[in-house]
Symmetry: C2
Subunit: 359 residues, 2 copies
């Protein structure tokens, strides 16, 4: 058996262990278990900070991803973390460990692509670190954002009765990854290219996140980085509620349906378990759902989709906590098929147990 602590106790186990080792000098739990650290700045401003460490061979394959895609995606996934708190991204720090394989042209494409996305959202490059790496390229991105206390949305705020919604169809990124792993990129048709693009250049719901932050009817918010089975589970756990997700209600794009038919994939399986869509998932007061959905549609010319409901866990027999014990108040995700609970095996992407393909 490997000694790797990530295999032994998992990511959340390790995070808890680190908190124990740090003892009294750890910030509050909210800060560590959510998408961002939240730091109050005076009465009317909250600072949001998120950081992601991306390592070649674990999160991306140097030969498989274009520098312009990697530059875009590295920033996009961090902007998504700010969006998932209802905040506005402001500043970025980029640290990079360079191997001999990344030449100046590679870096130019990487940074210019990142710059385009940053510019689109008025995010400024504020610093970072550049150094050499012997074997594998390393990228560390830190994004700082801001919100008012009312705008900040936590994973832990879902309330019984809430509608659970997502901001886009699910599974496209998973389909794109499958095409890349199967080396089908070169013969990809129009819709398959869309899936690959979803994987390589996930759209960060930045303006949508700010908009959702301003809706008092929205209670909890998270971005789907590891897949809905994993991430909606975090919301359920942290909020101490049951979240019922109806599989038939998961939105699936025409592109994914077409590719699934062609390649014999289970589209619902991809939509419910594949990661890296970076779509926002939220919970919302049911009385406001229809009007909010309409208003969102008018604002963004794009739909939100109801995929389930939140209910009180005291009405359910199963009160067992999960492996994320210290970060949870209990709670659970339940998939439904035509209204009936199903045992749906979780395939939520866990980057500690897989090797490649995640950025």
């Amino acid at each position: 058996m490997s000694k790797n602590p990530l295999k032994e106790i998992g990511e959340f186990g390790l995070i808890e262990q680190i908190q124990t080792w740090f003892g009294e000098t750890v910030g509050d739990l909210e800060a560590i278990g959510d998408d961002c650290t939240v730091i109050p700045r005076g009465n009317q401003s909250m600072e949001l900070i998120t950081t992601d460490l991306l390592i070649e061979g674990t999160h991306f394959l140097f030969e498989k991803i274009k520098p312009e895609d990697l530059g875009y995606k590295s920033l996009a996934v961090n902007l998504s973390d700010i969006a998932a708190m209802g905040g506005r991204p402001k500043s970025v720090w980029v640290s990079i460990g360079l191997t001999n394989r990344a030449d100046l042209r590679w870096l130019e494409l990487f940074f210019q692509s990142m710059h385009q996305l940053a510019h689109e959202h008025n995010v400024r490059l504020m610093g970072g670190d550049t150094t050499k790496s012997q074997q594998h390229m390393v990228i560390n991105i830190m994004v700082q954002g801001e919100a008012t206390p009312d705008q900040v949305k936590y994973r832990s705020s879902a309330r019984p009765g809430d509608v659970v919604f997502v901001t886009a169809p699910l599974g496209d990124s998973g389909g794109g990854l499958q095409l890349l792993l199967d080396d089908r990129k070169d013969q990809a048709g129009h819709n398959e290219k869309k899936l690959i693009r979803s994987h390589n250049r996930p759209y960060p719901f930045v303006n949508e996140g700010i908009w959702l932050g301003n809706q008092t009817a929205v209670h909890a918010l998270i971005d789907l980085s590891d897949g809905i089975s994993s991430d909606a589970g975090h919301v359920a756990n942290r909020s101490g509620v049951i979240i019922d997700i109806e599989l038939a209600d998961l939105p699936i794009s025409n592109a994914l349906i077409e590719a699934s038919t062609k390649h014999g994939w289970d589209a619902v399986n991809l939509a419910s378990s594949a990661g890296e869509d970076y779509v926002l998932l939220g919970t919302c007061d049911p009385s406001s759902w229809q009007s909010m959905k309409k208003s969102y549609s008018e604002t963004f010319h794009s739909d939100m989709y109801a995929v389930g409901h939140v209910r009180d866990r005291t009405k359910n027999q199963n009160r067992a906590g999960s492996k994320t014990a210290g970060l949870t108040t209990g709670g659970q995700l339940q998939f439904l098929k035509d209204g009936k609970p199903v045992d749906y095996e979780s395939h939520g992407f866990d980057h500690f147990r897989s090797q490649t393909g995640k950025a």
Copy 2:
């Protein structure tokens, strides 16, 4: 010739290049060229942010450094960056990419040691990222600190006439590194152990930095991470001044003198060119120097040392800028031997051109 951009154009060349690629979305230059990014928060508070990416094989050798030393040093060098701005460190984010060689016990020692140093300075762990790395361990540390606008000290603020001072003897860390590289650790005597400890556990001048931030007589401040020949050069360049450093005035510890005699090292060479002492170097109004030195000594039971002076570059023939063109307004470091300029070859540590030993 290697394609590595760090070899082609160097660290500062690359940083400038990245700024060009980012165009108008780069924060101000001050933010990128100093020890920390400085962000105004309202009228009376400045936020300071520093981040360091440490990669096994480039910055440390896994088999050569104890986890407790690596945990300590990773944080210490970032606390030193906050101190070098005259600020107070508040929060830390730790991201770690783990190989199979780091087991739970290794991590426990790493984080507990980091915690002790954090606790000492009331710095809180606020978040980070944990992930897997295939080949080399990766550590990214981000430290956030604060200061009032008056307390923040920049590299660019040295003034002609200023006394140049350092807060401790120089070269101990370089001596310790030499002992480690020569595999002399096991037979090291008391003083040699002190040198090795200086290298593995550099003392971050946190309280001293806060104190210096409060002295209006202190104009520029920096920490000596790459060695005085390199770092005092940054102050000269950014301030557009000449800095004269008298080699005979460089403070050298008894431990380094003893080890240099024993091993045939040139102690002055180590003190003037070796990196990683993380001693603070500042410039100070000459009329306040004696009283400040006395007050510092009474406060910290430790000495400051005058090592040189700042003069106007217009009085010097040589007005050439350095390779760090875009980050400089011109200026230069000049070593003196008994008051006479000497051509002293710069050996300031450049982690892009060397392989190992730096954390």
